[in-house]
Structures are given as structure tokens and as C-alpha cells.
């Protein structure tokens, strides 16, 4: 299943290159170009990592799991069935 993600990565990157990157470069909006390219590179890196199954990049779930102790304490106090 994961290799199919390559089509999405390519499609979004191509559309971005055609619709956004060129006009931004022509209008010399370098800051916009840098920020949007950085977001795209971040997405591509995580996409490739997911596709290859290497898990080299830090999982964002680690941030959510930080709230596990508090969540469990609240759920046990309020007697919530999880």
C-alpha cells in the first residue's frame, strides 16, 4: 500500500511547481517561496519516510503522547470508560 503515496507526492509537488513556485519566483516573493518550499519539503520527507517504512524522522505522535498521564488521570478521576 505505501508505495502508492508516491503518486500523491508527485502530483502535489508538480502542481505546486507549476501553479505557485514559478509565479512566486517571477514576482521575487522569496520569503513566500522559502516558507512554502520548506512546508513542501517537510511533507515530502515525512511522505518518503512513511513510504519506505524507515521511521527515521521523529513521530509527531510523541507530542500527543506527552499528554497521556494527564489524560489517564482525568479519565480515571471522572470514571470514563476508554
Amino acid at each position: 500500500m505505501p508505495p502508492r503515496l508516491i503518486y500523491s507526492l508527485l502530483l502535489f509537488s508538480m502542481l505546486y511547481g507549476l501553479l505557485e513556485a514559478r509565479p512566486l519566483f517571477k514576482t521575487r516573493a522569496y520569503k513566500d517561496l522559502a516558507v512554502t518550499s520548506l512546508i513542501l519539503i517537510l511533507a515530502l520527507s515525512y511522505g518518503i519516510d512513511y513510504m519506505m517504512g524507515t521511521q527515521l524522522l521523529p513521530n509527531p505522535n510523541r507530542l500527543i503522547i506527552l499528554f497521556k498521564p494527564l489524560s489517564e488521570a482525568l479519565n480515571s478521576f471522572f470514571q470514563v470508560n476508554t
Binding site: S8, L9, A43
Partner: protein, 367 residues
């Protein structure tokens, strides 16, 4: 000051659709078991407060988004820090929205892999954002009446299956009831905070502001009625066991030769779900535009679209993990952020209004 794109009616319909589309086929306040409907109605006061806070903030600083106001009022560093926390909250909520819709779509497309469904849903959202905010507002107006009619029709058709005794015992244990109220306050009611980014785009904003509250209250009332319908039809245990209680409720509808009525409702859930996602997607683009001081949000649409697809796949590989992370752990972060972010800004803004600094005075003069 930005151009005005939305009418008050469109903004009110967006608020209504956000509540309906965000809760989708789930039972809000489900932690409270058979008292979920009461938890939902009381939880709605939190959202009402958030709506009041963002409207008050916008009254003090007309024509500016909350992310711009926070840096003006709190200062550059604390303002950006709070904006960063808000950005993470918006992103996390958006990712959960996408996963919710995908879970629902897998009912009718069980053989299509998620990796194909994600971009199929995100690309139309990108297209909608490219078309602009006016299209978003008009789309909201268009589907508002259809959504209300179909949701009310579903409730009316469920009447013969309802068993009022399923609502008892009433408030037997207060602890799960409080938990249900807090969960309902976080999802879906506090999510109205996103409209702090849309209010500057409303053209006749100051005229009869009550319309925003009406849109919100009608949505909250409808959600409470949906909860009553689910619990009375399915019963407390079945409603808590089912992943999509409202879908199960609609599956029980049907007439002699007229079966599979749930597909009619499915269309409306898909529309409102996607609409909610587009609102949050637009909000995320606005926040990033303000955090990085970009000229336009449009260049962000495609990179953010890919980000949403990839991170949803990466963070929630299966439903079990999603249920744990999205329903249990994430509210501990999103609830305080969505509640306290506008509260802090409103309190400091009111304080600064009484004790204005030179910088703020010059900013007011410029507006």
C-alpha cells in the same frame, strides 16, 4: 484592512455547519453515557463563551485576525508563542477531521486504500480554497437548508424507533457527566475559535451581531437533539459500542420496499464534513500566513494539503491508534488552547484599553 468577502448570514451558516460537520456521525459527550445529550447542551456554553470572546476581541480591533491582534496586544515574542500553540491545535484538529471523514468513507469504499482516499478528499478542498472565501460562504448558504431539512427528517423518521426509557437513569453519576461536558466543550463547541480568523472578512460585521449566536445556538440545539435521537434509538450501551452511532441509527430507518435510507444521510455528512475541513484548512493557511508574515495564503494551499495527507497517514496508521490519540489524549491539549487563547488576548486587550500604550494608540489611529 483586508477586503470583505463574507456576509453576516454566510458567517452564521458557517458557524452552524462547523458544529454539525465536525461532530459528523459521532455521539458528542459520549463519556456521559445516557446523559450525553445534557452534557452536549451544557458543553455548548463553553463554545458560546469562545464565540463571545472572539467577537469582543474583534470589536476592539476591527479588521484584524486574532493571530495579528495577539502580537499587537501581548508583544512580539509571547504573541508568536501563543500563535504557535494555536497553530498546532488547528493542525491537530484538521488532521482528526480528515481521519473522521476517511473512517466514514471506508464504509462505502471498503476496498479503496486510505492512501488513495486522502488525496481524493484533500484536492477538492484545495480547489475550493483556490476559488476564494466568497465561494466558501456561498457554499455554506447553499448546503445550510439542505442539511437542516435532512437532519430533521432523519429525527422525525426515527420517532417510531425511539425508546424514552433509554435516557434513564438521569444523572446517576456526576463524574462521567462532567467528563462528557468537558469533552463536548472541546469537540465540537470550542472549535468555533477558528472564526476569529474569519470575522475580519465579514462585510457588514457590526450590524446585528446576534446572528452569529443564533447560528451557533441552532447548531448546538440540533446536536443535542441528535444525541437524544441516538440514545433513545440505540440505547446507552449500543451507542457507546458503535463507532458511528448516528449512522447505525439511520440504518434502522426504512419502509417496506424502501431500504438503505442511510445513504441519503451519508451524502449530507460527507458534504458537511468536507465543508468543516475546508474551514479549518483555510484557518490554518491564515495562521501560517500571519506567523510568517507572508503576502498571500494561496501559495500555502498545496504544500499544506500535502502536509495534511502525509501527517494523517503518519500519525494515525489505524483506527485503534486514532481513537486513543484523537479522542483521549489530544483534547487535553486542544481544549485549554482553544479556551484560554482568546481569553488571554481578551483580558490583556481590555486591560490595555484602560491603560493604553503609545504603540497601541498609534495602531488604533491607523485603523
Amino acid at each position: 484592512m483586508p477586503e470583505k468577502f463574507l456576509s453576516r448570514q454566510q458567517q452564521a451558516s458557517m458557524i452552524f455547519l462547523l458544529l454539525i460537520g465536525s461532530s459528523l456521525v459521532f455521539l458528542t459527550g459520549s463519556a456521559a453515557s445516557q446523559n450525553a445529550w445534557l452534557s452536549t447542551s451544557i458543553g455548548s456554553f463553553f463554545g458560546l463563551y469562545v464565540l463571545y470572546a472572539i467577537i469582543s476581541i474583534h470589536d476592539l480591533f476591527p479588521g484584524q485576525r486574532i493571530t495579528q491582534i495577539s502580537t499587537h496586544v501581548l508583544g512580539s515574542v509571547p504573541g508568536t508563542l501563543l500563535n504557535g500553540l494555536f497553530l498546532l491545535s488547528v493542525f491537530a484538529i484538521l488532521v482528526t477531521f480528515l481521519f473522521d471523514i476517511i473512517m466514514m468513507m471506508e464504509i462505502i469504499y471498503p476496498l479503496v486504500p486510505r492512501v488513495v482516499l486522502y488525496p481524493l478528499l484533500v484536492l477538492p478542498c484545495c480547489y475550493c480554497l483556490y476559488k476564494g472565501i466568497t465561494v466558501l460562504g456561498r457554499l455554506g448558504e447553499l448546503i445550510l437548508a439542505i442539511t437542516m431539512i435532512i437532519v430533521l427528517l432523519g429525527m422525525l423518521l426515527s420517532l417510531p424507533n425511539m425508546e424514552i426509557s433509554n435516557l434513564q437513569p438521569f444523572l446517576a453519576n456526576w463524574r462521567p457527566f462532567i467528563a462528557g461536558t468537558l469533552y463536548a466543550a472541546d469537540w465540537p463547541f470550542d472549535e468555533v475559535i477558528i472564526f476569529a480568523l474569519f470575522l475580519p472578512l465579514v462585510s457588514d460585521y457590526r450590524r446585528n451581531q446576534n446572528i452569529y449566536y443564533y447560528g451557533y445556538l441552532i447548531g448546538a440545539l440540533l446536536l443535542t437533539l441528535i444525541d437524544v435521537t441516538i440514545i433513545t434509538v440505540l440505547g446507552e450501551s449500543q451507542a457507546n459500542l458503535s463507532l458511528f452511532p448516528l449512522f447505525e441509527t439511520s440504518r434502522l430507518l426504512g419502509f417496506e420496499n424502501f431500504q438503505r435510507v442511510e445513504l441519503l444521510f451519508f451524502v449530507i455528512w460527507l458534504f458537511t464534513g468536507l465543508y468543516t475541513m475546508v474551514i479549518y484548512f483555510q484557518g490554518l493557511a491564515f495562521v501560517i500566513q500571519d506567523v510568517f508574515s507572508l503576502k498571500s495564503y494561496k501559495a500555502l494551499i498545496l504544500p499544506l494539503g500535502l502536509c495534511i495527507v502525509v501527517f494523517t497517514l503518519y500519525m494515525f496508521p489505524n483506527t485503534v491508534e486514532y481513537t486513543l490519540l484523537g479522542f483521549s489524549y489530544l483534547p487535553v491539549y486542544t481544549f485549554p488552547v482553544n479556551l484560554f487563547y482568546p481569553t488571554i488576548i481578551l483580558c490583556v486587550a481590555k486591560y490595555r484599553q484602560k491603560h493604553p500604550s503609545q504603540k497601541l494608540l498609534s495602531l488604533r489611529k491607523a485603523m
